[in-house]
């Protein structure tokens, strides 16, 4: 049956902000779905609160709503747009849960919206752990013994019956949120409590632990004619007990016989049929007993997932795209495989390479969180690497991570392990941590047997033996030495994935020499193609990976080519925003007639979709791998040549390669590497600002504690200590006295937390700046072309004061409070800096405004995190314009061309709010500081600041209350400002509760306090935590007291978090909230699409 013509418009729900467990893989799936559905002629209505996504670009849907993802808001959108159908399976767990909620609220029936893809019954059967188990048992599949509980007491009983150790798994969760292991009653108490809290229906499954079993996933697709296929099988290197999202995983499965694999395939099919997913992709997880082969089914996700994104990139089969087509009525055999073009999508991809996924964690940014992996997701991103062997793909994956590692050890980071004794290594390897595999390698290198390693880690002996082969090769290479290396030796080493960097370390020579020697030996990388069919048919899509074989498959360049370097794995400080910029560059440059070449190693992204660019190289973003690609393209011949490389859109990752490229004679497009230094290098930048007469916070650079001390005494405390060449305020601290300063400096040294990232040195000094207290922070994104014209993209005023990292604070366009002349000064400074740095393309400048003096904090001659937000707010496609400008177009030309048009402004305000991961890290303080810790962002857009701010809070899961009690606990220096906030809340009819000190201050100034609570610990009466826990508080304002590690007040903030009470930690945010509440009380809520906002803006300009 061809596509359905009884549907006209379809509603898609995105997955909202990037959070742990739900990242940009859903931007990838959502973007694909939008594209497909529009190609098929449907009207697409999209709602997603995340402005950093590509899917929320106005051109991807007919109506794009950047609004909070909650039932009331989506109901309004449905009421307004009247879609015929809702496709719930492409927006992650968020989309799925909302679809169910909308159904339960009767909204879908009321407006006659049909659920396509998966019906509510199917979603329930899959997501409700208990119903799932019954269903699976009913069709004869094995599941681990278990029981259900709704209270902690029930849980304890069930646990006894099931038998410890048990694992607790909440219903309707993602990324293992709230799951956990319990070995005994005490532990069970805590784990059960957390699990019940995590489940929206407070239901938990208590299951016998089968930790240590082998874990597998199958990605399955089904069409309405009941044709079912497996797209990809995935084997976890880390066995059961470590969440698949936390595990190193490999495609295809490596250690299953065909008999076992087919048994698993049959089970997956039986599962998807029983669950009743009518069309689309599902993810089915299995565990296999290593010694008996017994198979049990763990769960199924009736939607596209992180793993389906991985499977799509791993096989070249675009699951989300096909799922969208199936949802509107196509059968698999009616859809063409667009890689082979001659064969249908009704087949099972087969591959002739190995794919390894490696997660990336951010524990270094979350002091207090123990870096131990378990059934909860904690990783913030992942990389994927392709090689012809597991060893090759594994080592490529590790060097893709950008954690300072060059491969599976054989690099400077391995020195940390010298301290370990053999037994220590083995016992540390027994614990799943981000370091585990490196400990395994070291243990094997010390002649610990594969059997022993398997015994303590439960990592399959086959994987251990593969690592042992890397170990043995390393020894061989060490014996040989660089001089003895023959062509055969180079091939052998490279085929096991050894990077030039590792060999440089091994032989103590510069990396450039390694490269030269290898090329001299005639050993070059060869690029193979990902084609879904192991070369059985010819492939039309140039989706390549590098390996060391006889021949490669690179076609000559047909047009002038531009290489766009992506941003690598998602991490805190560098995420989907940069992928957005790279993807836009690819689109703009393709339209402008260039051949676009994308290089990236992040499987979650749109940039690594094979039809985003003309060519895709799924490769690590390292010196070696990028040079290989550029050189290969340069000698590829053909009419087009290599125009150059764009390094300024992928964040800090590609920027770091600018010099290497230049040194190797490869043109760097846009701002020159020397200008990049002028901005990054503190001395040079200071000189520049002085020359331009732009004020900076007083400060200096120090490479040791004494220098730091001297500077601090000159400029006076408080000072801000920050390492150079870092992103996201890494290891940045505000210190108030000498002792704080010493501690901070020590942490920056090699032995300290920043050790692996390079520590301190003359090349990497620490910057000691006067910390500007209570200053307003302002972010500016600007563009400059080769004629020197500068375009101010957007001026963003932060809600939180300077000192809260720009990435973690809310900000607004246009600036709600800045004086016109201040804005003018900021714009002038920005133009002057762009001019002086000879910026070609984007640059981002951050300012702190204190008592009307505008200080510049830093300038980055590259795309910033805020570019997509600015574009959504103003309708100006900054990244596209930047890409064109970097290739020589002038702003004037782009205006004529129509790509660049005036910003849509005047009628609306856009507020960006950060989303923080604290929910997953119970022991981390939620206080905001100069080190960025947010994983994602949402946008609220409306006619006024208050309404927009309110939406941004709702979007971030901090919905503002309209009545009730506000609890205040303020630091002394915040008491005056806090007074104002308290008064506003009182005027809005809120009751006021406060801790003694704050209460006194309010009282004295005539703000009545209804409840005074004791400091926590003072066991007199109820304390703050009791009050919050008792549900009597609706809003918490807690500004940090004391200095250095601001421990005090933490329990208040944690209590608010764990009881879902909205909480702000700055007075400025409290004032904004008050503004939002009063607006929300005054006006009925309204939803409008970006298209409407932008068109209005344009109209306003015309009249």
């Amino acid at each position: 049956m061809p596509k359905r013509d009884d549907l006209e418009s379809i509603l898609l729900i995105g997955s909202g902000p990037i959070v742990i467990g739900q990242a940009c893989e859903f931007d990838y799936s959502g973007t694909q779905a939008c594209r497909v559905l529009r190609e098929e002629g449907y009207r697409v209505v999209l709602v997603n609160s995340n402005p950093a996504t590509i899917m929320t670009d106005p051109e991807f849907a007919d109506a794009t709503y950047v609004e909070p993802l909650d039932v009331p808001t989506i109901t309004r959108i449905i009421e307004k747009e009247r879609p015929d159908a809702l496709l719930p399976t492409l927006g992650g767990q968020t989309g799925l849960n909302l679809a169910v909620a909308l159904h339960d609220a009767g909204v879908l029936d009321r407006f006659g919206v049909e659920l396509i893809g998966a019906n509510v019954e199917a979603i329930r059967t899959a997501e409700d752990r208990q119903r799932f188990k019954l269903a699976m048992t009913e069709i004869g599949l094995q599941v681990p013994p278990s029981g259900i509980a709704y209270t902690v007491d029930e849980a304890l009983v069930v646990a006894q019956q099931v038998g410890y150790p048990v694992i607790v798994r909440p219903a309707f969760i993602l990324g293992g949120g709230g799951t956990g292991m319990a070995h005994g009653v005490d532990e069970m108490h805590r784990v059960a409590e957390r699990g019940l809290a995590a489940s929206p229906i407070s239901e938990i499954l208590i299951e016998r632990s089968i930790s240590g079993w082998k874990e597998y996933e199958l990605e399955v697709m089904r069409d309405h004619a009941d044709n079912v296929v497996v797209i990809c099988s995935i084997e976890n290197v880390d066995p059961m007990g470590v969440h698949t999202g936390e595990s190193i995983t490999v495609a295809p499965a490596q250690t299953l016989t065909d008999v076992e694999y087919q048994q698993m395939r049959d089970a997956a099919f039986a599962c998807i049929r029983r669950i009743g997913v009518e069309t689309g992709g599902s993810n089915v997880q299995f565990a296999v007993h290593p010694r008996t082969g017994e198979q049990v089914i763990i769960e199924m996700n009736p939607r596209v997932s992180r793993s389906s994104a991985l499977a799509s990139k791993a096989t070249g089969f675009p699951i989300a795209k096909i799922a969208a087509k199936l949802a509107v009525g196509y059968r698999l055999d009616e859809i063409q495989n667009d890689i082979t073009r001659e064969t249908p999508a009704s087949f099972e991809p087969t591959i002739d390479y190995v794919v390894t996924k490696f997660p990336r964690w951010a524990f270094e940014k979350l002091p207090g969180a123990a870096p131990v992996l378990g059934t909860q997701m904690q990783s913030v991103g992942e990389v994927m690497a392709i090689g012809r062997t597991f060893a090759e793909s594994l080592q490529k994956a590790v060097r893709s991570l950008e954690t300072g590692r060059l491969g599976l050890n054989c690099d400077p980071t391995e020195r940390e392990l010298d301290a370990f004794g053999d037994d220590e290594l083995v016992s540390s390897a027994a614990v799943p941590t981000p370091e585990r595999l490196f400990h395994v390698e070291a243990a094997l290198r010390r002649f610990v047997s594969v059997e022993r390693v398997h015994e303590v880690t439960n990592i399959d002996p086959w994987f251990c033996d593969q690592i042992l082969q890397i170990v043995e090769e390393r020894d061989r290479l060490e014996q040989l030495g660089l001089q003895q290396m023959t062509r055969a030796d180079w091939r052998r080493a490279k085929r096991l994935g050894f990077g030039d960097g590792q060999l440089a370390y091994l032989w103590g020579v510069p990396q450039a020499d390694i490269r030269a020697a290898r090329l001299a030996a005639g050993v070059r990388v060869t690029y193979k193609t990902v084609d879904t069919c192991a070369a059985e048919f010819s492939a039309f899509t140039p989706y390549h990976y590098g390996t060391y074989e006889d021949t490669d498959e690179i076609a000559p360049l047909t047009k002038p080519a531009v290489v766009i370097l992506g941003s690598g794995p998602n991490r805190i400080g560098q995420g989907v925003e940069f992928d957005y910029c790279c993807v836009h560059a690819a689109f703009a440059l393709r339209d402008a007639g260039f051949e676009t070449v994308m290089v990236n190693c992040n499987p979650e992204t749109v940039s690594t979709d094979y039809d985003t660019s003309d060519r895709l190289f799924f490769e690590p973003l390292t010196e070696e791998d990028v040079l290989n690609i550029c050189e290969r393209l340069t000698d590829s011949g053909g009419p087009g040549g290599l125009k150059g490389v764009i390094v300024s859109l992928g964040g800090q990752t590609p920027l770091k390669l600018a010099h290497v490229l230049e040194r190797n004679g490869i043109p760097v497009l846009g701002t020159s590497p020397s200008s990049i230094d002028a901005a990054e290098d503190r001395e040079q930048f200071n000189a520049l600002c002085t020359k331009l007469g732009i004020p900076q916070p007083p400060g200096g650079t120090a490479t040791n504690v004494d220098e730091a001390q001297r500077i601090a005494n000159e400029i006076h405390y408080p000072v801000l200590v920050r390492p150079s060449y870092v992103l996201g305020g890494r290891a940045m601290q505000i210190v108030y006295d000498d002792t704080d300063l010493r501690r901070a400096m020590v942490e920056l040294t090699h032995t300290g937390s920043l050790g692996r990232e390079g520590g301190l040195s003359l090349e990497r000094p620490a910057l000691i700046d006067r910390f500007l207290e209570d200053a307003v922070e302002v972010d500016v994104d600007a563009l400059r072309d080769r004629t020197g014209e500068v375009l101010i993209g957007g001026v963003m005023e932060h809600i939180e004061e300077a000192g809260v990292h720009s990435g973690d604070s809310a900000c607004a366009i246009p600036p709600p409070t800045l004086a016109a002349d201040v804005i003018r000064t900021i714009e002038q400074h920005t133009c002057a800096l762009a001019e002086a740095l000879d910026v070609i393309g984007l640059c981002n400048v951050q300012y702190a405004v204190k008592d009307d003096t505008v200080f510049v904090i830093e300038a980055n001659p590259r795309a910033s995190r805020t570019v997509p937000f600015v574009s959504k707010a103003t309708g100006v496609p900054l990244a596209k314009v930047a890409a064109r400008v970097m290739l020589g177009a002038t702003l004037e030309e782009l205006r004529e061309e129509g790509l660049l048009h005036p910003p849509a402004e005047g009628g609306h305000v856009a507020v960006k709010e950060a989303v923080l991961p604290f929910g997953r890290f119970p022991d981390v303080d939620t206080i905001l500081g100069p080190e960025m810790r947010s994983t994602g962002e949402v946008m609220g857009i409306d006619r006024t600041f208050g309404m927009a701010f309110g939406k941004s809070q709702a979007g971030a899961g901090n919905t503002l209350p309209h009545r009730g009690t506000v609890f205040l606990s303020l630091a002394d220096r915040d008491k005056n400002a806090g007074l104002l906030a308290a008064r506003r809340f009182a005027e809005l009819g809120f009751a006021i509760a406060a801790t003694a000190g704050t209460a006194r201050a309010l009282d004295e100034n005539g703000v009545p306090v209804d409840t005074v609570v004791a400091k926590v610990g003072e066991d007199v009466g109820v304390d703050a935590v009791d009050l919050i826990s008792s549900g009597k508080v609706d809003f918490v304002v807690n500004t940090p007291r004391g200095r250095g590690p601001r421990a005090d007040g933490m329990h208040i903030r944690r209590a608010a978090l764990s009881h879902g009470v909205a909480c702000v930690t700055t007075v400025s945010a409290a004032l904004a909230a008050a503004a939002g509440i009063s607006e929300e009380l005054a006006r009925p809520p309204e939803v409008r699409s970006l298209q409407e906002y932008h068109d209005d803006g344009q109209l306003r300009l015309e009249v």
Binding site: L256, S346, E348, T350, W462
Partner: protein
């Protein structure tokens, strides 16, 4: 491991290392084909249909889960050699009893590893299945050997791999007695027939129709097997005399032989179908089956006589995948419903065969 070369008859040369059995002259020859399955190397290596052929595995890691006692498809492998990118040196699976390398040596199957199998596969895709030779011998020797090897065209390889003596499996109590012509039959086919309640007498490729009819079976099965169907002596003639008299079911070579018996022609495909992911449409229902395939020859659609109907079509290249004779109670498929290795989507065919026999 000793350095070795793989040389194709057209002179194309690949570098690798010798594994498995080491032939005294350092030369192994055969027709080089590739298989794209991700798992199931044990079943593939022991599938008699590969007689005369060198199997290239497109998946790089082969041998990971070793060899076990259950999954062999025949008592001994009949292939001429295996070509892999990376032969596992450690076997890991709870059922594993032996390493693939040891197994190859024990059964005198030479192998070569470290080969750029993707380059080889792309070459075969262009040039077609082509004779080749590999081993530790020098390039000229290997090239000469490759040129000497005639390939499989016109060879009756089935007679070489068929059983010498008839044998019977399945319980005497079984309700259905089936005679199976052994052109190189796979164990999993017999398992399925027995599983469906048949007792099966497996007979050599030769016995004439009257001998078979004399045994008064409920039906006749035509097995898979190697080589050129047109060259299998007498087979088509025998089958012609059986079709219409009693239910007949053929798989792969058996399908080609039945088609020949019905008067159709067969032809050689460029590089054949060898893998576990080929989509096939069941024409009556439109349902798609993912199938296990292993054949170099196919039935020419235009040559199909009146009365025989195409029941299955390959969705990749439109080749005939199944034929039935309408009223005559005979049907056959080009692919492998018994899997071993491969997906189980088409198992229903064994049931259809037994239903046909029960009805007839």
């Amino acid at each position: 491991m000793a350095d070795a070369l793989l040389v194709l008859a057209d002179g194309t040369t690949f570098e690798g290392e010798a594994v498995g059995y080491a032939p005294p002259d350092g030369v192994a020859t055969g027709e080089v084909v590739f298989n794209t399955a991700l798992s199931g190397y044990q079943e593939i290596v022991t599938d008699p249909s590969y007689a005369g052929q060198i199997i290239t595995f497109t998946y790089p890691h082969i041998g990971n889960y070793g060899i076990n006692e259950r999954d062999d498809q025949a008592r001994v492998p009949h292939c001429r050699g295996v070509v892999v990118r990376d032969l596992a040196r450690r076997a890991s699976n709870w059922r594993a009893t032996e390493h693939l390398d040891a197994f190859l040596r024990r059964h005198k199957v030479p192998g070569i590893t470290g080969i750029d199998t993707r380059r080889l596969t792309r070459h075969i895709r262009q040039a077609g299945a082509i004779p080749g030779a590999f081993g530790v011998a020098d390039r000229d020797t290997l090239l000469a050997a490759a040129e000497r090897d005639g390939g499989t065209d016109g060879c009756d390889l089935a007679s070489a791999v068929t059983t010498a003596q008839p044998y019977t499996i399945g319980p005497d109590a079984a309700s259905l007695y089936v005679v199976a012509y052994d052109f190189g039959i796979k164990r999993s086919i017999l398992d399925h027939l027995v599983g469906e309640g048949c007792q099966v007498e497996v007979v050599p490729a030769r016995p004439p129709a009257e001998e078979v009819l004399a045994r008064a079976p409920a039906g006749v099965f035509l097995s898979n097997g190697p080589g050129d169907p047109a060259a299998v002596t007498d087979a088509a003639r025998n089958v012609r005399e059986l079709v219409g008299k009693l239910p007949v079911f053929g798989i792969c070579l058996g399908h080609q032989i039945m088609s020949l018996a019905l008067g159709a022609r067969t032809f050689k495909l460029r590089f054949g179908h060898h893998g576990g992911n080929h989509p096939v449409r069941h024409v009556p229902t439109g349902r798609v089956e993912i199938t296990s395939q292993n054949h170099n020859y196919a039935v020419d659609a235009d040559s199909l006589p009146e009365g025989s109907v195409v029941s299955h079509l390959n969705l990749n290249d439109g080749d005939i995948e199944g034929v039935h004779t309408g009223g005559l109670g005979a049907f056959s498929v080009q692919y492998h419903p018994e899997a071993g290795p491969g997906p189980h989507d088409a198992r229903y065919l064994f049931k259809e065969f037994t239903e046909l026999m029960r009805a007839g």
